[in-house]
């Protein structure tokens, strides 16, 4: 019976949290609050579009914050050098391309030099942060272009544009996951790479492609983040790696790969955002908030882990 419930645990957790917090702090259950939660969820929702696929294939991408920083800084620099409409039209695409390039380097080194993804992405993450710092001359670049602020803050049907961008990213990711070979092959690699290889699937190219795609999403996230905060600076990225990975895992995409997906990660993001929002409304101090997030991650992994597939727990 437990097995049948397992896929729904994250959703049940989310519902439980909403009800519990709603009872303790009724302000939680207002439209305005819901919009607030969705806005704060915008960037994480973009980020999980990339990270989910990486975790599906059994790897991990720790370069997220580095790519975010590079993208945010690049958007800031473009504002300084170009400015005007041209700038806004170019900003987001260039951030995506920049992110893709970092993703490509990440994936290529991992696949062709056979370095575990944990290490390559960690390295490129730091390299990214370093690059961003150099580009920003050690400081920060303010992003004040009104068109860019419009692109993230303008309200459409009550929700900020950043949320709509997030939605667009999710739709693209869902399409890739369900309707393209690349998406389906992500599951195949996670389910059994040996079988995939014997079936003639180009596993190396698939891996690199997924890392490039992840980088693209991270780049987009960085552009949105930078525009939201008005800053191109490495400090703005802190915490997003943890949030993203926690969201993916809490949502039910197991670290061993092959199981889960974008919908799972969406639930995971909202679990975290609702919890964070609720804790603020309930007046819980920040230190406790972090502790609770940590416990939540452990609980989520412990429940969702497929222990049969683990040969040794390391």
């Amino acid at each position: 019976m437990l097995k049948k419930i397992k896929p729904f645990v994250p959703l049940l957790m989310l519902l439980f949290l909403c009800v519990a917090i709603g009872l303790i702090a009724p302000r939680f259950l207002s439209v305005g609050n819901f919009v607030r939660i969705t806005s704060s969820a915008s960037v994480p929702l973009i980020l999980i579009c990339g990270q989910t696929f990486i975790i599906l294939i059994g790897s991990i991408d720790l370069s997220l914050e580095g790519t975010l920083a590079v993208a945010a800084v690049m958007v800031g620099l473009l504002g300084q050098w170009v400015g005007g409409t041209a700038f806004v039209l170019l900003a987001f695409p260039i951030a995506i391309v920049g992110g893709s390039m970092i993703g490509f380097l990440n994936g290529a080194v991992h696949v062709y030099l056979k370095v575990p993804s944990l290490l390559t992405s960690l390295g490129f993450g730091f390299a990214g942060l370093g690059l961003a710092t150099v580009l920003a001359d050690g400081g920060s670049i303010t992003i004040t272009d009104p068109l860019l602020r419009y692109a993230v803050f303008h309200r459409l049907l009550g929700f900020p544009m950043s949320a709509w961008i997030g939605l667009a990213a999710l739709l693209v990711a869902l399409y890739v996951q369900d309707q393209t070979r690349l998406g389906r092959w992500a599951y195949v690699l996670g389910g059994g790479e040996e079988v995939a290889k014997l079936s003639g699937i180009p596993i190396q190219r698939v891996r690199v492609a997924l890392f490039v795609m992840a980088g693209a999403f991270f780049g987009l996230g960085g552009a949105v983040l930078g525009s939201q905060l008005g800053l191109g600076q490495i400090q703005i990225t802190t915490g997003y790696l943890f949030t993203t990975i926690t969201a993916v895992v809490v949502g039910g995409t197991t670290l061993t790969g092959g199981v889960g997906g974008i919908l799972n990660s969406i639930v995971g993001v909202f679990v975290i955002m609702v919890l964070a929002n609720g804790m603020v409304l309930m007046g819980i101090p920040t230190s406790v908030q972090l502790g609770l997030q940590g416990l939540l991650t452990i609980a989520a992994v412990a429940i969702s882990l497929d222990r049969k597939r683990l040969v040794a727990v390391k």
Binding site: V188, A196, L198, V259
Partner: protein
């Protein structure tokens, strides 16, 4: 009639072992060809060669188009050879349709998008061939073993579209995970499909092979030793062909058989582990060697692992030295004085990076303490003793275990258990991976250990080994004991044992 697929004089060598030795074999159109033989006879190696997993060192494979070079299962598929695997090769986290068309999705792609309707439609048609009516979008995890087997068969049959005639499907022990009625269904399907496709059927159950095959080849020691048609085949003839070498008594040091003690070292009653073995009872006296014979899937390996504490029984009792013990874990077994010499020596028997000396003292490390710290001096003394007594070569016990040959590694494993005071040794294929010259030394060692009063439970690689080393033999088939022999009283021949094995 001509062969649609032939293998001529094919040999495959792994180190010193000739897994296939000048094998010639042919498959004609619309027939089921069976392959029988003992463990290690070469059946699965031959299938792997036909499937492109191994490349022959000598000889050729040919079909109607000419000679074939098969470097991978994909090459085999292009040549019209499909395979239904023993351990299923379906991915459980994707749908049945995706599994059927794994690697072949491009035919359903339009402008980068997968046409699910078309794929599911094609999948449904394939599943009809094996009369499986499940929705193609079903997640493969939800299917029973029998249904998954059918999906694998359907997957192999997709090759029909590219090979109108001349498709050969290899069935590698397809019945091992199936229940009786499911086996009937499988055979039914195969017989119907025989009108269009030929099959090569490998099973360790002789009666099954005889029932389904039109013709069968008998293999032994990597060679084809005989051929029979379904009419000609009798179990007796098959048994005769499967064995047939003369026992070289000295090879196994049979003359060293001493009188066995009267105290029972290990006694096992009604031991059961659902799915692996049931109602297993036997006892071993001190100084006695009990050999368990059986093919893969007979349950003998599971019984060994149970006694070693790796897989506790669901029912039944194990008594050591007259006292009932629960062997819930390997450490409990070790504390009871049971030493396990595993099949996978490199993974479970030795810590390859540690030195010979460290490996020898590992399970009994408590003995080597001085003032609460491990004393290397004590370890060195013990290691030197064993290196000398067992002639472990090279005699430098500070070398990592990985640098020793298979035979010497096995001696280290044995040394460590005797050092730990094991009264019972569970030897799981003790001469596997040991070259011919060293095997003799290992046999002598086993006999010597028995002579010292250690009770030994043995699973050997070949029937010969079992007969040569054991004082008593039990035969297992399909998870139960089917026969018991005492070497001295019954003097069984290989044929007698095979009869209860297959």
């Amino acid at each position: 009639m001509t062969n649609i697929l032939s293998v001529s004089n094919v040999s495959k060598v792994f180190g010193a072992v000739r897994a296939l030795d000048g094998v010639s074999f042919g498959v004609m159109a619309n027939e089921v060809v069976g392959l029988i033989g003992e463990n290690g006879a070469g059946k699965s190696t031959l299938l792997k060669v036909l499937n492109g997993v191994y490349q022959p060192d000598e000889g050729v494979i040919t079909n109607a188009a000419g000679s074939l070079t098969l470097r991978s299962p994909l090459d085999a598929e292009h040549a019209g050879i499909g395979m239904v695997h023993q351990e299923q090769s379906l991915l459980l986290n994707i749908s049945v349709a995706e599994n059927l068309y794994l690697g072949r999705e491009s035919q359903f792609i339009r402008y980068g998008k997968i046409n699910w309707k078309a794929m599911h439609g094609a999948a449904r048609r394939q599943l009809e061939k094996v009369k499986l009516s499940i929705p193609p979008a079903t997640r493969t995890e939800l299917l029973s073993f029998a249904q998954r087997q059918m999906v694998e068969l359907a997957k192999a049959l997709i090759l029909e579209e590219e090979h109108e005639d001349g498709l050969v499907i290899l069935l590698d022990e397809p019945t091992s995970v199936l229940e009786n009625d499911e086996i009937k269904i499988l055979f039914d399907r195969v017989r119907t499909l025989r009108d269009r496709v030929s099959f090569v059927f490998v099973s360790h159950r002789l009666d099954e092979v005889m029932e389904l095959s039109d013709r069968m080849y008998v293999m032994r020691d990597g060679k084809v030793v005989g051929q029979m048609t379904q009419e000609e085949a009798t179990t007796a003839k098959a048994h005769e062909m499967m064995v047939g070498r003369n026992l070289d008594h000295d090879y196994y040091s049979s003359d060293k058989r001493k009188d066995i003690g009267s105290d029972t070292a290990l006694s096992v009653e009604d031991l059961s582990r659902p799915g692996e073995f049931s109602d297993v009872s036997f006892d071993i006296k001190q100084g006695e060697i009990l050999g368990i014979c059986g093919v893969i899937g007979s349950g003998r390996e599971s019984v060994m692992r149970c006694i070693a504490g790796l897989a506790p029984p669901q029912a039944g009792t194990i008594s050591v030295g007259g006292r009932i013990k629960t062997l819930k874990s390997p450490s409990k077994a070790v504390n009871t004085g049971i030493g396990y010499v595993p099949q996978e020596r490199r993974v479970e028997g030795l810590v390859m990076q540690l030195s010979v000396m460290e490996n020898i003292s590992l399970p009994s490390i408590g003995q080597f303490k001085k003032f609460g710290l491990i004393s290397t001096t004590l370890q060195k003394t013990a290691a030197a003793k064993w290196v000398k007594r067992l002639s472990i070569r090279p005699p430098d016990y500070s070398l990592p275990a990985s640098s020793l040959s298979g035979g010497n590694q096995q001696k280290v494993v044995l040394a460590k258990w005797i050092q730990a005071g094991a009264g019972i040794l569970v030897l799981d294929h003790p001469t596997r991976g040991v070259d011919v010259g060293a095997k003799q030394e290992v046999y002598e060692l086993i006999r010597e250990l028995a002579a010292q009063g250690i009770a030994i439970l043995l699973t050997a690689d070949t029937l010969e080994e079992s007969l040569g080393l054991s004082d008593k033999i039990i035969v297992m088939r399909d998870q139960k004991i089917t026969a018991r022999f005492s070497m001295q009283e019954d003097e069984p021949k290989q044929v007698d044992i095979i009869r209860s094995m297959v």
